[in-house]
């Protein structure tokens, strides 16, 4: 029983240890360090490109564009245009039935 009470009082003490806690402040010259960081970032081209690319909006737009492109291509493939000539018509017109020079030179009577 005593052990339990002892444990509870330890827990209570720990829970109350943050009462009247003071505010922590950064090291002096925080503003100077901050301005140096902003200037460093403004001067670094690749950092700016990196931060632009790593934005969720950029990833969303890129993925959407790829998906739209895919949908566009898939849609066009499944409905070929009606004006495209038939393959057999092309083959006849260009005499593609003749395979080799042998066929041309040894025409059967």
């Amino acid at each position: 029983m005593n052990k339990m009470t002892d444990m509870q009082s330890k827990v209570d003490e720990a829970m109350n240890s943050l009462l009247n806690i003071g505010q922590a402040l950064p090291q002096p010259f925080f503003y100077t360090r901050l301005i140096a960081r902003i200037n460093r970032q403004e001067n670094n081209y690749w950092d700016r490109v990196g931060s632009l690319i790593s934005r969720p909006a950029f990833a969303f737009i890129t993925v959407s564009m790829v998906l739209l492109l895919n949908i566009y291509v898939a849609f066009n493939e499944s409905f070929p245009s009606s004006v495209s000539p038939d393959l057999s018509e092309i083959a006849t017109a260009d005499d593609l039935g003749t395979n080799t020079f042998y066929d041309i030179e040894n025409v059967q009577p």
């Binding site: 444990m7 330890k10 827990v11 003490e13 720990a14 829970m15 109350n16 240890s17 943050l18 009247n20 806690i21 003071g22 505010q23 922590a24 402040l25 950064p26 090291q27 925080f30 503003y31 360090r33 901050l34 960081r37 902003i38 970032q41």
Partner: protein, 194 residues
């Protein structure tokens, strides 16, 4: 009067006035740093997070529409940056551990053993160390609510505005946080007794 001054500063900052930026940084650096320190529990990391917060303020002040107070906006950015920082640190640690298994990088990332908040009074330091260990094990939302309440001294209404929750949800979060902290502390004391 204070609200008018805040609006004036924001408008000046939107026009690129560096003096306004300096005034905002100097008046709110304590708020940002203290909150970040409570969450990341490391002075160097807290400084890094505080700088990131003000860089974001500088870059995106034009998108600030004034629907909430500037301090509420700053708290929101701080909490989000601090949690991102913790996630990145955890990821780095895991990656370093995997690398060490393959012998690529023998150095592991270690956390400093015990964090002591500089605002804690001397006679409470030992107890606060144990409490901070327990806070570090809380789920993210409970950790944020508890830090804002106990370390920044914000009331339920202010926390609900920062976390975009109802006051009842904040009350429930804090109740669960306290319960979990007691459980974590009991486990810690039991382990240390053995």
């Amino acid at each position: 009067m204070r609200v008018l001054n805040e609006w004036n500063l924001i408008e000046r900052l939107k026009k690129g006035d560096e003096a306004a930026f300096k005034e905002i940084v100097e008046s709110s650096q304590g708020l940002v740093y203290n909150t970040a320190l409570g969450i990341v529990q490391n002075p160097e990391d807290a400084e890094d997070v505080a700088q990131e917060v003000f860089v974001q303020l500088y870059e995106s002040i034009r998108s600030f529409k004034g629907e909430s107070k500037l301090s509420t906006w700053l708290y929101r950015i701080t909490v989000s940056k601090a949690m991102d920082h913790l996630r990145k640190k955890k990821r780095k640690k895991r990656f370093a551990y995997v690398q060490s298994l393959f012998g690529v990088n023998e150095q592991l990332i270690y956390d400093p053993p015990d964090f002591v908040h500089p605002g804690v009074s001397l006679d409470n330091k030992e107890k606060a160390k144990e409490l901070f260990k327990a806070i570090d094990q809380l789920p993210p939302k409970q950790k944020i609510a508890f830090t804002l309440n106990r370390i920044e001294g914000l009331n339920y209404q202010e926390i609900s505005e920062i976390m975009k929750l109802t006051v009842a949800s904040v009350e429930s979060l804090l109740h669960r946080a306290r319960k979990n902290l007691r459980k974590n502390l009991e486990t810690y004391y039991l382990q240390n007794e053995k």
